[in-house]
């Protein structure tokens, strides 16, 4: 394992973190406002699917990402209708939406995209930043990625700013902690929660799109494989803060990058153990650190006037 090996590890980790980062940041916004999205996985899965569908239909990467975003927003809208309008339990609705997303994307993959699942769509090109990308060892990892990856990292300070430095962000916080008090201060709880939820859907949809469009450009059934749940774990692990979630996402992505690179090394470890590693690390990380953390007070509780 040379320095070069580590530099390649970093390249992989930073690229792998981007989809997770979009989803986790979206979920931070949503949970700050008291809305939990167990269907984060479903948002990503639908985004991954509609992203590929958009890419195949248009051949244009911008259209592809727009449709990935729309896919995530669609799932968020259904969640909002079920919970905010019909008063469904947020956790239950989220679990059901995951099932629906898994079934619908698998079915549509064969019947709408055509059985030819190997056909690959346009994918995202790398966009090296001149000079900076030539810095030895870290240049390629940080400055030779796709535009979506840069945006994912820029989204961390942006979401931090949104939540701590704007009226909108402070309103979300109030709505997530004491909705009744927020309402009496003139904040529209329902509107704020809708905004947070749809924003989360948009970000998770882009994250899902990045998963397929930033990679091989193919959609396979259940392509997300629990990534949405790892993002949910990252939000908890990151104490519902954008920067904290960023740290958690980086930890999980380094583990993921390590297991992929380790498979290539041909170590005498069963590759299945390596594949299972990110999931195990997620559980261990939660088990080791979570009990001292406090979620937003009104998380997952529907607001009724």
């Amino acid at each position: 394992m040379t320095l070069d090996w580590f530099s390649l590890l970093l390249v992989a980790a930073i690229a792998l973190a981007a989809p997770l980062l979009f989803a986790a940041l979206g979920e931070v916004i949503s949970e700050t406002a008291g809305v939990i999205n167990i269907e984060l996985e479903g948002m990503m899965l639908v985004g991954a699917f509609t992203g590929i569908a958009g890419a195949l239909a248009s051949g244009n990467i911008a259209v592809a990402f727009a449709s990935a975003l729309a896919g995530g927003v669609l799932v968020a809208a259904v969640q909002g209708i079920a919970c905010f309008i019909f008063g469904a339990n947020q956790v239950v609705a989220g679990i059901v939406l995951n099932i629906l997303a898994l079934g619908a994307t698998t079915f549509l993959l064969v019947s709408a995209l055509g059985a030819d699942v190997t056909k690959s769509a346009v994918t995202l090109e790398r966009l090296p930043i001149p000079i900076l990308s030539d810095i030895p060892y870290i240049g390629r990892a940080l400055f030779d990625q796709s535009i979506a990856v840069y945006l994912a990292y820029l989204a961390v300070p942006a979401v931090w700013w949104l939540l701590t430095r704007t009226r909108f962000g402070l309103a979300l916080k109030a709505v997530g902690e004491r909705p009744a008090a927020a309402e009496s201060m003139g904040v529209n709880v329902l509107k704020s929660r809708w905004a947070a939820l749809l924003l989360c859907g948009a970000l998770a949809g882009i994250g899902g799109g990045l998963l397929t469009l930033g990679g091989l450009g193919v959609f396979t059934p259940n392509v997300t494989k629990g990534i949405g749940f790892i993002a949910l774990a990252a939000v908890i692990f990151g104490r519902w803060k954008p920067v904290g979630a960023f740290g958690a996402v980086m930890l999980f992505s380094l583990v993921d990058a390590f297991q992929i690179r380790a498979q290539a090394l041909g170590l005498p470890i069963p590759y299945q153990l390596l594949v299972a590693l990110p999931y195990l690390v997620t559980i261990i990380a939660l088990a080791a650190f979570v009990s001292r953390m406090r979620p937003p007070a009104a998380l997952a509780i529907n607001y009724e006037r």
């Binding site: 309008i85 008063g87 339990n89 239950v92 679990i95 059901v96 099932i99 619908a104 698998t106 629990g226």
Partner: protein
């Protein structure tokens, strides 16, 4: 999510208990028909051929029955957990671990008289599933971590364990597909009716329904379970050991999923094979909710989706994985409509209660005025 399990149980009335799920299923089937229409299939011929392939002849009926069994078993386990307000969404992983343990039992055991080997295999599957379910239960009880995330994480770990064994120690030389060699007849659940594929696993499913009903509705354990589902803090005051109950409930929940996997392996597949559960554990969540956590309701819901799956083979567009995906869509839609229907009825009930309370206040006001009647 405090009162969800209570909400589910308190709807014993005919209208809400049966009408809402039935209407929801019909709406879901109509929605699926529209989707089929949109992708260029004729929904009427599709449903006709599905009906034929699921109930058309004794073989078709037996096919429906065996496709119902694993779904029902896993749903029973999930429902037990929901009763205690625990969300075991990792049944899929417990199915894989259970099926794998069952195959392991078959591989280690010597040749024994007829039903011994599959029976021991099913017990092994149940124990393995219980262990896999107990882990998220333990983490929830003692570390305060949401069982939703950990049980789902363990799905992917479980699948990789199965995969490792199939490609490593249990791999069949020169085989291109990850699967054990087909089991000898002594290691399989016997077929009950010649000419069909109905196997003795159906007794396991029936027993599971009966045992659960007895356990939850007629024992002290069931009482504590339901108390836990109502209110955790109150349960602690009642002297219930909450942490132990959480672990035990999740283990029991996992045991049923493990048995589901074992029945699939020693009853239906007759070998351990890659991807032997195409999402039964996820669908089972929908079945538990659609069946309102009630044994009979869950039998009906599992039968519905078992029939859809069996019937999916009769579809013209039957590419690999399509039929089970349609079932998952139908299952998800049905439960989605149930949630919306329940929500709507809930809101209406609340509004009615509010109106009633308001009119009572009005009457009191009226009685208090000296003139007696005052127009509002």
């Amino acid at each position: 999510m405090g009162s969800f399990s209570r909400l589910m149980q308190h709807r014993r009335g005919l209208a809400e208990g049966i009408l809402v799920p039935v209407v929801s299923v019909v709406l879901a089937l109509v929605t699926v028909a529209i989707i089929l229409l949109m992708v260029g299939a004729n929904p009427l011929t599709a449903y006709a051929s599905m009906l034929d392939a699921s109930f058309g002849d004794p073989y078709a009926v037996s096919n429906t029955a065996i496709k119902t069994m694993p779904r029902l078993l896993a749903a029973i386990g999930i429902a037990i957990a929901i009763r205690a307000n625990l969300w075991n969404i990792g049944a899929e992983g417990q199915i894989y671990i259970g099926g794998t343990a069952a195959a392991g039992a078959v591989l280690v055991l010597p040749v024994l008289p007829a039903p011994m080997v599959p029976l021991v295999a099913i017990v092994a599957g149940g124990i393995a599933g219980a262990v896999w379910g107990a882990i998220p239960g333990f983490l929830r009880a003692y570390r305060g971590i949401s069982e939703v995330i950990t049980s789902l994480m363990l799905v992917y770990v479980g699948i990789q364990i199965t995969q490792y064994l199939l490609e490593g120690p249990w791999a069949v030389p020169l085989s291109t597909f990850p699967a054990t060699a087909p089991f000898e007849p002594y290691a399989k659940l016997p077929v009950l009716i010649p000419g069909t594929i109905l196997n003795a696993g159906i007794f396991v499913a029936i027993a599971a329904v009966a045992v659960t009903w007895f356990l939850v509705d007629r024992t002290r354990f069931g009482l504590e379970l339901r108390a836990l589902g109502g209110n955790e803090t109150a349960s602690a005051y009642l002297g219930i050991r909450v942490k132990g109950m959480i672990v035990l409930t999740m283990a029991l929940s996992g045991a049923f999923a493990g048995i589901a996997g074992a029945v699939e392996v020693v009853g239906i597949r007759g070998r351990l094979i890659e991807g032997f559960s195409p999402g039964f554990g996820f669908e089972a969540i929908a079945i538990a909710l659609l069946g309102r956590l009630h044994p009979i309701g869950m039998v009906a819901a599992a039968l519905l989706f078992g029939a859809l799956d069996a019937g999916g083979a009769g579809l013209q567009t039957s590419a690999r994985g399509v039929s089970s995906a349609i079932v998952m869509v139908a299952a998800g839609l049905s439960v989605g409509y149930v949630l919306i229907g329940m929500g709507a009825m809930d809101r209406r009930a609340k509004r009615r209660k509010a109106r009633l309370a308001l009119s009572r206040v009005d009457r009191q006001d009226t009685a208090a005025t000296p003139e007696g009647k005052v127009a509002r």
